[in-house]
């Protein structure tokens, strides 16, 4: 317990459906940090949110003792710096750099490539190929590591960063009836995803399937 923990005020400006918000929730849960959840209506953002995040106007925003921290992966690292128990990043600088690299790869390459498939209604072959290429890179990394998670026996920054792939992607596929990640094509990712969503600290934070399915059906429709 941190010496000042009793006085800590942690508030999370959130949207329970968001995989980016979920990254922060998983981290908070892993470390057993008490916080207040402020659910935002993204069509009607609160004054507080706009005040704390004038640059991007997005969730998640974590406010710790009045100080706002923005960007999900920056928040996760911040939590790791302040609450050192149950570390999310490796201690070794080289391993830490590798974890940051993979988390960035997921954010910069994988997730945008995947979104493109669904927002382009799966009509462009090139877009699908591109997304599968990124997934293959992750598949190869899991194969190389040969462990249950990117973090080894326990989840780490990379697993948390990839939460979209473990849970939301599947629901997006179900809603649009378009399958990218099949067990035969991506056996390691499939296995990893099953392990990840079954982790207690993760399971408790995931939004209900029904809510995500309804949201995706509404937004992307059937392909």
């Amino acid at each position: 317990m941190r010496s000042s923990e009793m006085a800590d005020e942690v508030t999370l400006y959130a949207d329970g459906r968001s995989p980016f918000v979920c990254r922060v929730k998983i981290a908070l849960n892993m470390k057993g940090i008490k916080y207040k959840n402020m659910e935002e209506d993204l069509q009607n953002k609160s004054g507080a949110l706009l005040n704390y995040n004038p640059v991007h106007k997005k969730v998640p925003v974590l406010v710790h003792n009045g100080n706002p921290i923005l960007e999900s992966l920056v928040i996760v690292e911040y939590l790791d710096n302040v609450w050192e128990r149950v570390p999310i990043l490796p201690q070794d600088p080289y391993e830490k750099a590798a974890a940051r690299f993979w988390a960035k790869f997921i954010d910069d390459k994988c997730i945008p490539a995947l979104y493109k498939v669904f927002s382009s209604k799966g009509e462009e072959e090139q877009v699908i190929t591109e997304a599968c290429e990124q997934l293959q890179i992750l598949e190869d990394e899991l194969e190389l590591k040969g462990k249950k998670f990117f973090g080894g026996d326990n989840i780490n920054l990379v697993d948390i960063a990839a939460d979209f792939i473990a849970y939301w992607l599947q629901l997006l596929e179900e809603a649009t009836e378009m399958k990218l990640v099949t067990r035969s094509k991506f056996p390691k990712i499939t296995e990893w995803a099953e392990g990840f969503v079954n982790c207690q600290v993760v399971k408790e934070m995931l939004p209900p399937r029904a809510i995500m399915l309804a949201y995706y059906k509404n937004r992307f429709g059937k392909i």
Binding site: H64, E71, Y78, F101
Partner: protein, 219 residues
Amino acid sequence: MVGSEVILLDFWPSMFGMRVRIALAEKGIEYDYKEQDLPDKSTLLLEMNPVHKKIPVLIHKGKPINESCIIVQYIDETWKDKSPLMPSDPYTRAQARFWADYVDKKVYDALKKSGTLKGEQQEKAKKEFIEILKVLEGQIGEKPYFMGESFGYADIALVTFYCWFYTFETLGNYSIEKECPKLIAWAKRCMQRESVSKTLPDSKKIYEFFMEMRSKLGL
């Protein structure tokens, strides 16, 4: 240098590579600089960065570290006894990370668009670019550097674009100093540091390089 402990695979005009060079200079680290011929990527580069096949790549004791901002943090964490680049306080550190991330997400693309598009699209791109710079300028405010009194990570992330400003000002026919005088003042302040002034190539050299590259590509 045969068997060098620290090797940098880089390309001299790259603002991303420059970030790493500044960090190495701040820490006084000796390293073997290997210029990469980018259209014709070396086997070493492809082996050390198989995912992105890009520079910069830092190779330390035979192991590669990729992505300029990640490399800068690695350098800071590994050579921690001298010239800290990250703030010591977690909250300020998070802010530094946020701003470096902002630079990464916004500046490069906006700069490129403002110099390469034409006509009305270019005007729009220029406006967008200046808006981004104004946000950064606002963040620096009256402080000497991004996070306060000390030069560090967020400054390194942005300052390497400074040597490219002349190129895009010339192509776009505008003055960044006119729009963001405080930002240019900050850049000039950073240039007073040897690590920065010895790293950033002369702006005219960058312009010549860019124009040559453009004509080679038939643009």
